[in-house]
Each structure stands twice: as structure tokens, then as C-alpha cells.
């Protein structure tokens, strides 16, 4: 390598656009050629701290429709920042094509390089590779869609008044967490397919035809009626409340439906991010660590640069103990980074324990294994699959059981031979979406009757809803326009509670 002769790209803290470009090039060379990271093209934008605050408020999207809740978020962040209670992120990265990353102007050169490696190559390749992102987000279209949404909302405000738009959006936001598809809907059948199926059904009926059935007496009194009564709509419970509202709410005007759709699309866009927090951050952290070390090996950066990078890296991946100040649960950066590094270790230097736990990957090609994991898992399955006993020991993980009927908490399992399996399962479960979002689905829409809507909350292990649920139901009834009910049932299907909001 002639890089060694060239010496470091820069020394000192000052950054310039030329330097960022050179660092980016050097990192790109390693990422693309040596590690074969597949990324969207990058668009790196340098912004000032006020602009970072702006970006925060719109959840990282460069544009969003106007709504007071973003104003609140902005004021909250600004206040915290001005008081010094909170620092700002070094970067924000957007899942779009080209992949937009915001770099703060206040960062030093080393930090800018770290951020470029982390966001522009780490997160970027994750966005492009992970199945959830591939399935649920459309990186090419998101920016255009947000532009459309913004213009549409503003147009509606002009045409129908601020209040009505705000009301509708408020109600949609209340249901946002239940506006997400987790499974693909089957694509509608084409006409040809429909015809084929119909013919198949007919042939089947022919083949099963038997004169004898004609001789069986038919009960005269209203067979049709019982069928009608039994016919439920929707046939299957629907978990995407916003989708159901968009399609079937009897009273919504077309523009309101479009607003519901905008909120639903936004929720869907963010859905993969919530499901892959640990993996996404772990992946990006692993790669900035690896890429910058390669830069150092090649002599492109000096020791001062590395020290700054490592200081910051260490801050990010610190895991505090439960009894330490500032403990906020498991740090996704720490856990993710540790797991990614651990997979590499298992591949390169497996112990007997690793061979027993991970026979498939121990001693394999770490890069392939890691790439496979990145593409095909989300947090829940990733932890369930790859968390090693070694890491559980290292993090001193322990599970506490909190049962309603017990007066005390019980330590359920700890990081020992007996506990590993259960601990891993519990931790994986913790990242299951059902743990964060209650299971509430549409079970009944009285289309032919009073048009009321019934939701069912399937209680999970006796966990109740918060009191906010009443407020949310009011929002729901506003969108629906007729009576709405929320039925709470326990795991046996027994009804525990019924809330009703009459319209």
C-alpha cells in the first residue's frame, strides 16, 4: 500500500469540505472493496446545531407536514439543549436513496470521519440490506412522498380550515402505533387468475356432484337468514386500525381518508426502525469501529485521531449496571455492538461452548455470517439466535419476574448454566413488538346495522391498558363517526371489560 508513504490524511481538529471528501473516499474504498458493503449512494449534508434541532422534531425526516406536536417536540428539545441537559446527536441518517446523512458543523474532523463511517456506510448498508426495510420502506420514494404529504396537508388546511385538519391528524396520531402492517396483504388477484379459480371451483363442484344430495329434505325456515346473521365483517380480525378506518370509516370525507393514509404511511415507514434498533445501531457501530481501524492500519489517520474516535466510541457503547446512575435499560449500541463483535469472534476463535451453542457458524466466515444476520433478522430473532452465553456473562444479565399476585419481585434467572436459555428467550421477547404495543384489533363492523365498530384488546398476561385508552377511544370515535367499543378479553377469551364511546 502506498498509503503508508502518503501519511495521514489530516492532523488536527479542523475539518474542511475537501478533507471530508477525502475521508469519505478512503472509507468508501475499504467498505466497498475490502468488506463488500452494499450501500445506497451517499448525500452528506453539513448543518448547524439549530438545524439539527429542526431535524429532531420531524423524527429525522428532512420535511414533514405541519402539526403542533412537532412544535412541542421542537420546543422540548430546544429547551433541553439550551439548558445543557442534553447534547445533540452527532448525526442523523435518513433511510432514503440517496442516503442523506446530516453532519453537525461543530464536530471535529475525527468525529466527522467517525460519523461518515457510522452513518454513510454502517446505517446505509443496513437500510439497503435488512429484510424489514426492504419489505416495508421504499427508499427511492420517501422524500417525494413527504413533499406530497406536506403540500397536501397545507392545501387541506387552506381549504377545510386548520381546526378540522388538526383534529383529524390528532386522532390519527393517537392510533399511529396501530397503523402498521406486520404482514403483507396478499396482492389482489388479476382477472385471469380470478377466472382460473372460478373454473377450478366449478370443476370441483362437478366432480363432487351426486344426485343423492338432491333428495335430502331442506329445512324451510330461513336458512339464508342464519347465514346472514352469522356473517361477520371483517371476516378476520384486522390489526391495522388506520388501514381499516381509511377503507371503511363510514363518515370520513375523501381528504380525511387521505390524511389517515399519510399518517399510516409515515407510521409504516418508521416501523422497521423500531424493530431493528439493536441490530441497526450495533451494525453501524461495528462498522465504524472496523472501518476506522483499517484506516489506522493503513496509516491514513494518526494516533490522535484514533484516540478521539475511541473515546467517543467507548462512550457510546457503555452499558451501565441496573443500580448505577443513568441506567436506562439495555443500551442498544452496547448490546448490538457486542453481539456483532461476538459473532465475528465465534467465527474466528470459537471456544467449546461456542461450538456447542452455535455449531453452524463457529469457525465460519465471519463476514458471511454477519451479512446473513444483518439481512434476515430483526432484534427479537437476532437476539434469540445469536446472543451467546459469553455475552450474557459479560453483561451480567439477569431476569426479574414481576407477577401481579406476588408481593415481591423474584429473580427469574441469571447468567449461569441453568439460566442461559431462558434468559435469552426472555430478552428476545422483550424486543417483541407485542411487549411494547398492546394487541388491539378490529373484530366487528356492523355494516348493515348501527355501523358501530368493535375492537378487541387481547390481554397479554393480565397486563391492562393505561388510562389514556379512554382518550384514544374518543379519537377513534371521532374518526369513525359512529359508536365504537373496546372489548378487553383475557387469554382464555373471556370478556373482562367493555368500553363504549357513543357518537
Amino acid at each position: 500500500m502506498n498509503a503508508l508513504e502518503r501519511g495521514p490524511i489530516s492532523t488536527g481538529a479542523e475539518w474542511t469540505f475537501e478533507l471530508i471528501e477525502r475521508y469519505d473516499q478512503a472509507i468508501h474504498e475499504i467498505a466497498a472493496n475490502e468488506f463488500k458493503l452494499d450501500t445506497y449512494p451517499n448525500q452528506i449534508e453539513i448543518i448547524a446545531s439549530e438545524q439539527m434541532l429542526d431535524a429532531y422534531a420531524s423524527a429525522g425526516l428532512p420535511i414533514g407536514y405541519p402539526h403542533w406536536s412537532y412544535g412541542k417536540e421542537f420546543i422540548r428539545n430546544e429547551q433541553a439543549y439550551r439548558k445543557g441537559a442534553r447534547g445533540l446527536a452527532y448525526e442523523i441518517v435518513i433511510n432514503s436513496n440517496p442516503c442523506i446523512s446530516y453532519l453537525m458543523e461543530e464536530n471535529t474532523m475525527a468525529m466527522q470521519a467517525l460519523v461518515v463511517a457510522h452513518a454513510c456506510y454502517g446505517h446505509n448498508s443496513f437500510f439497503k440490506g435488512n429484510y424489514l426495510f426492504r419489505q416495508w420502506t421504499n427508499a427511492d420514494a420517501i422524500i417525494d412522498y413527504m413533499v406530497f404529504a406536506r403540500n397536501y396537508v397545507m392545501e387541506c388546511e387552506e381549504r377545510y380550515g386548520h381546526e378540522r385538519v388538526e383534529e383529524t391528524l390528532d386522532s390519527c396520531h393517537a392510533l399511529m402505533s396501530h397503523g402498521v402492517d406486520r404482514y403483507r396483504h396478499p396482492t389482489p388477484l388479476s382477472v385471469a387468475e380470478e377466472r382460473d379459480r372460478q373454473r377450478e371451483r366449478e370443476e370441483y363442484a362437478w366432480s363432487r356432484y351426486d344426485e343423492i344430495w338432491r333428495t335430502v329434505p331442506v329445512r324451510k325456515d330461513g336458512k339464508a337468514k342464519t347465514r346472514q346473521l352469522g356473517e361477520r365483517f371483517p371476516a378476520e380480525p384486522q390489526e391495522n386500525l388506520l388501514y381499516f378506518i381509511e377503507k371503511y370509516a363510514p363518515k370520513l370525507e375523501p381528504w380525511q381518508r387521505e390524511l389517515v393514509r399519510i399518517v399510516r404511511k409515515t407510521a409504516q415507514y418508521f416501523y422497521p426502525q423500531g424493530q431493528t434498533k439493536v441490530m441497526n445501531e450495533g451494525w453501524a457501530t461495528f462498522w465504524h469501529y472496523t472501518l476506522l481501524h483499517r484506516l489506522f492500519d493503513q496509516g491514513l489517520v494518526d494516533a490522535g485521531f484514533m484516540l478521539e474516535v475511541l473515546a467517543s466510541h467507548t462512550n457510546v457503547v457503555t452499558q451501565r449496571g441496573f443500580d448505577q446512575r443513568g441506567y436506562g435499560g439495555l443500551n442498544p449500541y452496547a448490546l448490538g455492538f457486542a453481539m456483532m463483535s461476538d459473532i465475528k469472534r465465534i467465527c474466528e476463535e470459537p471456544t467449546d461452548e461456542d461450538r456447542a451453542w452455535f455449531p453452524d457458524i463457529a469457525g465460519g466466515d465471519w463476514h458471511k455470517v454477519l451479512d446473513f444476520a444483518m439481512r434476515n433478522y430483526k432484534d427479537e430473532s437476532f437476539i434469540g439466535q445469536f446472543l451467546s452465553p459469553r455475552l450474557m456473562r459479560q453483561f451480567h444479565l439477569f431476569a426479574v419476574a414481576d407477577y401481579e399476585d406476588d408481593s415481591e419481585l423474584t429473580v427469574d434467572s441469571i447468567h449461569n448454566e441453568r439460566g442461559f436459555q431462558r434468559l435469552r428467550r426472555l430478552l428476545a421477547l422483550q424486543y417483541n413488538r407485542d411487549q411494547q404495543v398492546p394487541d388491539i384489533q378490529v373484530v366487528r363492523y356492523e355494516q348493515g346495522g348501527d355501523r358501530s365498530l368493535t375492537l378487541r384488546h387481547q390481554q397479554c398476561r393480565k397486563r391492562p391498558l393505561t388510562e389514556e385508552a379512554d382518550e384514544v377511544m374518543k379519537h377513534l370515535s371521532r374518526l369513525w363517526g359512529f359508536t365504537v367499543r373496546l372489548q378487553t378479553v383475557d387469554e382464555g377469551g373471556k370478556e373482562l371489560d367493555l368500553k363504549e364511546v357513543k357518537h
Binding site: 473516499q25 420531524s58 408481593s407 429473580v411 393505561t466
Partner: protein
């Protein structure tokens, strides 16, 4: 390859529109908070932004969440002493510590506090009635002037003569006028012309004057109208028992608004607070607004005291004197008539302006005082009745509009 863009010069206030929406939506709550601030603040520093806080509960966005209770397990890091099966006492204060998930959301602040800019604060303070720009010229003519330099002129008194400027002009003129003569002389010398010819040209050169009338420049000064830099504002208020807190709040808003008007016009505005029941006292602001007294009502006592204070401390040739009186209009016997006479005959000639604001219990009834005051015919006097907070500002505008017209 990667594109690098400098966005630092882009608009930094993307969220201004969202912020406005937030303020509009929670106007009621914010106004409540502003009202608290107003009652705490002194009139003189009303004209500032402020921190306001509203209950977090009011601005939360609801959604379906798991509540506490039920059965669950959560995984934590940093075990040191626990073994499987150990019992831990339930931490007090609500069910289970939600350490397992989203610990960062757990800041338990009941109040959402944020800063309003001066503009936003004033807007809320005056119930959204925007402060117009006409305030500046709404206060009528000014009587004071100040001299200000304004370049140079060709005429003036010798004391204002600018020597440097004049000599520079003189030199320029001498060079300009002498040049062709000097050229002519050089030519003659080169041609070895007759001595007399050269001598004649030289004499012509010498005859060019060193300083001429047209060279002179004087420092120019112009008169700039200036407000008399000092004004005094007399706040008169009836503090008898019938003046409720609410009425006092209206009064405070009125006084504040007048004060703000005046501070835009004058460098220094002094405040004199005179409260009265059946006798009048000069008091400080705190006492003025918050101390209650009991007793009857004699309006005249306040006007007399105002007159005394003016005579002692604020001669009308050195001060712009403004008066503002707030009362619920109760007056008894000969008092309203005497007050009217005192005001219109003795006080008004010395005042720039006097505004009487009535805060009656009922809209329709003309109070004794108002009845008497109605007969004052002076362009320096105005009276209005105010029953609600949002009437305060329009009244003031009306009052001062009238003055601007005259």
C-alpha cells in the same frame, strides 16, 4: 461518489410554523400561565419575554399502551449479588420499575416549561391584538429639539467656519485657475519671449486670491425634533372594597399598556402610584396593586394629591405629564362634581393627556363619576368603560387615535 452539501446557510427556522401551531393550540393554558406572570411582574418589566409552563398532562398525546400490573419479566444488566429465586422487595411508588424498556422517557416533570419571546408574550398579554406601528406617531406633536450635524453649507456664522474645508476648496480653486497661466508662462519662457510678456502673466497668476468668498464652508446643523426625554405617568386608582382583584387586573393591564406606549416615546418614564379610598396616598407599585384597604370613596383626594406631587416634583414645563385613572365609578355627594372641576380647570391645562377608565359592575349604568366627567370638553381628556380584558387594548387605541387626529 458521495455528494457533500453545505446546508448551514439554509433556513434555520423550519419549525417556526409548528411552534406557532403549538402556541395556538394551547393558547388557553399558556394564557393562564402568562396571567400568572403578569400578576407577579412589575409594570416596568412587563415588556419582556418570559418562561411559561403548562401541565404536561394537558399536552400529552394519548395512545394505547400497556399499563403497569399484570405479569411480566424483564432483563437487566449488571447483576452482582442476585441468584435465581432471590426475592426483591417491590420498589415503592407505583408498580414495577419500568427499567426494562424505554427508561429515558421517565423524566417525571409535571410541567412543560418553555420560553416565549417578547413578541409572543405581548401578543398573549393583549389577547392577540397585535400592537400596531401607529403608536409612534399617535402621541401628537413634540416640543423639544436637538441640534444635529448635517454636513457643510456655504453660508453661516464665522463661529461655524470650517477652516480645513475652506482652505482645501481654496487650494483647489487656485490650482484650477492658475494652470493655464502657468502653462502659458512656461511656453513663453521656452520661446524666450519678451520679459514684459512673461511679467504680465506672472502678475496675473499672483492676482489669483488666496481665499475667496466661494471657498468658505460652514459646519451645518439641523434641528431634530426630540421628545422631551422625561415623562411622568400618574396612576390613580380607587382601592375601596368594591374594587375586586379582577378589576385591579384590568387596571394593571391598562396601566401597563399606557406605560409601554410611553416608553416608546420617551427615554425615561417615571411612575407615580396614587391610590385612594376616602383619602389618597402615594404608594409603591406592590402596595398599589396588592394591598387592600377599606373605606369610602373620595375621588377628589386623589386629584388633589396628584396636583401636589406635580407641584413639588414634576413641573409641567420640564415634564410630559400623563394621567390615568381607574375606578369603578362610585362617588358620592358633591365629590364627582368637585372632581370634575378640579380636573378640567386645574389639572388638564398642565397635562399632556388624561385617561379615565371605568371598570363598572354593570355595563349599562352610568356611574356618578362618569356622569360628571362626561361634561369635560377637552381634547386632552378621554374616558372609556371596560369590562373585559380584551377591551383594554382597543380602548387605548381609540383614546390615542383621537389624540392623533386633533
Amino acid at each position: 461518489m458521495s455528494i457533500i452539501i453545505d446546508r448551514r446557510l439554509n433556513d434555520r427556522n423550519k419549525n417556526a410554523v409548528n411552534r406557532q401551531r403549538f402556541l395556538r393550540r394551547y393558547k388557553e393554558q399558556i394564557r393562564k400561565s402568562v396571567t400568572d406572570v403578569v400578576s407577579r411582574r412589575s409594570i416596568t418589566d412587563m415588556d419582556q419575554g418570559s418562561d411559561v409552563s403548562i401541565p404536561v398532562k394537558d399536552i400529552s398525546e394519548p395512545s394505547f399502551h400497556h399499563g403497569s400490573g399484570g405479569d411480566r419479566e424483564y432483563v437487566n444488566a449488571g447483576n452482582r449479588q442476585f441468584n435465581t429465586g432471590d426475592k426483591i422487595p417491590r420498589p415503592s411508588g407505583g408498580g414495577g420499575r419500568g427499567a426494562g424498556e424505554g427508561g429515558e422517557g421517565g423524566e417525571s416533570n409535571d410541567e412543560f416549561t418553555f420560553a416565549l419571546s417578547r413578541e409572543e408574550f405581548m401578543n398573549l398579554f393583549f389577547d392577540d391584538l397585535e400592537l400596531p406601528h401607529l403608536i409612534r406617531n399617535a402621541l401628537g406633536e413634540t416640543r423639544d429639539f436637538r441640534w444635529r450635524r448635517a454636513g457643510y453649507t456655504q453660508t453661516g456664522v464665522p463661529a461655524n467656519l470650517s477652516v480645513a474645508r475652506s482652505l482645501r476648496n481654496a487650494m483647489a480653486r487656485r490650482i484650477a485657475l492658475g494652470a493655464p497661466l502657468r502653462r502659458q508662462m512656461l511656453e513663453l519662457e521656452a520661446a524666450q519671449a519678451a520679459e514684459e510678456e512673461i511679467e504680465a502673466v506672472r502678475r496675473r497668476i499672483e492676482r489669483i486670491p488666496f481665499v475667496d468668498e466661494i471657498d468658505l464652508r460652514y459646519r451645518h446643523r439641523v434641528k431634530d425634533p426630540r421628545p422631551i426625554s422625561r415623562a411622568v405617568m400618574f396612576c390613580l386608582m380607587d382601592v375601596s372594597a368594591s374594587m375586586t382583584e379582577e378589576k385591579k387586573d384590568l387596571a394593571k393591564r391598562f396601566f401597563t399598556l399606557l406605560y409601554l406606549f410611553l416608553t416608546r416615546k420617551y427615554e425615561k418614564v417615571e411612575l407615580v402610584f396614587i391610590r385612594h379610598t376616602d383619602d389618597a396616598q402615594e404608594v409603591d407599585e406592590e402596595t398599589f396593586f396588592h394591598d387592600t384597604r377599606s373605606g369610602g370613596t373620595v375621588v377628589l383626594s386623589a386629584l388633589k394629591l396628584m396636583q401636589e406631587v406635580m407641584a413639588a416634583r414634576y413641573p409641567s414645563d420640564a415634564w410630559n405629564i400623563y394621567g390615568a385613572q381607574v375606578s369603578d365609578g362610585d362617588a358620592f355627594g358633591a365629590d364627582p362634581e368637585k372632581s370634575r372641576a378640579c380636573l378640567s380647570e386645574q389639572l388638564l391645562p398642565q397635562l399632556r393627556y388624561f385617561a379615565y377608565i371605568e371598570v363598572p359592575d354593570h355595563d349599562n349604568r352610568a356611574s356618578p363619576l362618569a356622569h360628571a366627567y362626561q361634561r369635560i370638553d377637552s381634547e386632552r381628556f378621554a374616558m372609556k368603560s371596560v369590562t373585559a380584558r380584551n377591551q383594554v387594548y382597543p380602548v387605548l387605541r381609540e383614546l390615542f387615535n383621537r389624540e392623533a387626529v386633533t
